[in-house]
């Protein structure tokens, strides 16, 4: 369970720093605790920022953790480990997104993409799941079509479910900038979603 609230956040930061110290002292299992704590969100960030499937995003997330481990000596204790780690994941995902722009919607490739991006929750009911797959795929496509700065904020807010202050810490931006980007991203998303829904309907 990830912390909510300032006090819980500070406590979690202290625990993270302890785990970092233990890792640097030779205890690799301590790093495993960090992976357990932040793995889900790192995968979510990689999936939604890069526009990857959940399975592909796991590879990117694994690379993010490896990079964090390799550079653990550069992490400044007392800063937020989670923000440092998420920033690594965001940068890797953005690189991946740059290297592989999302394919255009329509035709078999579009249908394939919808299936790939849908990433249904395997615990869901079949009908509801299918609907959620379709909807999630459409929205993910629309987000993937946003400029990277806006797509990143949306991915962190809705894909990884970070709050505004966590996004600001991760992207090293003022809180107001984060809110403004999110607002602008939503304004851009409305027509994109309408277009995509029209394509899917056709």
């Amino acid at each position: 369970m990830l912390p909510t609230g300032d006090a819980a956040r500070r406590q979690a930061d202290a625990e993270d720093d302890r785990a970092v110290r233990q890792t640097l002292a030779g205890d690799a299992q301590a790093f495993g605790a960090l992976v357990e704590r932040y793995g889900s969100r790192v995968i979510a960030i990689c999936a939604r920022v890069a526009g990857d499937s959940y399975e592909d995003a796991q590879d990117v997330a694994q690379e993010a953790f490896l990079r964090a481990y390799t550079n653990l000596g550069k992490y400044e204790l007392g800063r937020s480990f989670f923000a440092w780690l998420y920033r690594i994941a965001v940068n890797l995902a953005l690189n991946r997104r740059t290297r592989r722009p999302p394919p255009a919607l329509g035709g078999p490739a579009g249908a394939l993409l919808l299936g790939r991006l849908g990433d249904a929750d395997p615990t869901g009911q079949p009908a509801a799941q299918a609907e959620r797959v379709e909807r999630g795929a459409t929205v993910a496509r629309a987000v993937a079509a946003l400029p990277p700065d806006y797509a990143t904020v949306v991915a962190l807010r809705y894909g990884a479910e970070l709050d505004y202050s966590e996004i600001a810490a991760t992207l090293q931006l003022p809180l107001g900038t984060v809110k403004a980007r999110l607002h602008r991203a939503k304004a851009l998303l409305r027509p994109l979603l309408a277009d995509l829904e029209g394509d899917v309907a056709r």
Partner: protein, 171 residues
């Protein structure tokens, strides 16, 4: 359509968009059971800092990490200090190697000699005499280029040495 209708339609659109964006949620999913093990399998534990101080890294052939406070840093710090000393000595050599510096020293030496002679006789205005002699400098002003360049290099070296020493003390 009235203004109210447009506002209501906008609010509905916002709600619909918010609901759509909820479809992006992935963070709530449980971590795949093999994920942590897969990450850890790629890592080699950090060894403790060695006497030489380098923290060997670990992750698949990456170059060794150099951590602040570790011996790797200590080695780099000493190299920096040696470089600062060399810079300072170079500046001193330039100063001594030019006639400017020896001219200034000669002037000061003769002023001090005069002062000591006068002081042995009467100590009255000896300090005033020394001050005026030192501040006046040599009779002909030196070209000073070697003196200035040498002094600047010496200051850079000494300053670098001092700053790095203080930085080391505070970390």
């Amino acid at each position: 359509m009235t203004l109210f209708d447009r506002h209501a339609a906008g609010a509905d659109a916002d709600l619909a968009l918010e609901a759509d964006l909820q479809a992006l949620r992935l963070a709530g999913r449980p971590l795949p059971p093999t994920f942590t093990a897969a990450v850890l399998a790629d890592l080699t534990p950090y060894p403790s800092p060695t006497k030489g101080g380098e923290i060997a890294n670990v992750a698949n052939g990456s170059p060794p990490l150099r951590r602040r406070g570790g011996g790797g840093v200590r080695s780099a710090w000493w190299q920096g200090q040696v470089a600062a000393c060399v810079l300072g000595l170079l500046g001193l050599a330039i100063m001594l190697g030019t006639a400017d510096f020896t001219g200034v020293l000669t002037g000061w030496w003769s002023a001090a000699d005069t002062w000591l002679t006068r002081f042995a006789g009467d100590g009255g205005n000896a300090l005033d005499l020394l001050w005026s002699a030192l501040s006046a400098g040599p009779a002909t002003p030196p070209a000073s280029l070697g003196l200035i360049v040498g002094a600047l290099i010496l200051a850079l070296g000494a300053g670098g040495f001092l700053v790095r020493s203080l930085d080391w003390q505070t970390t």
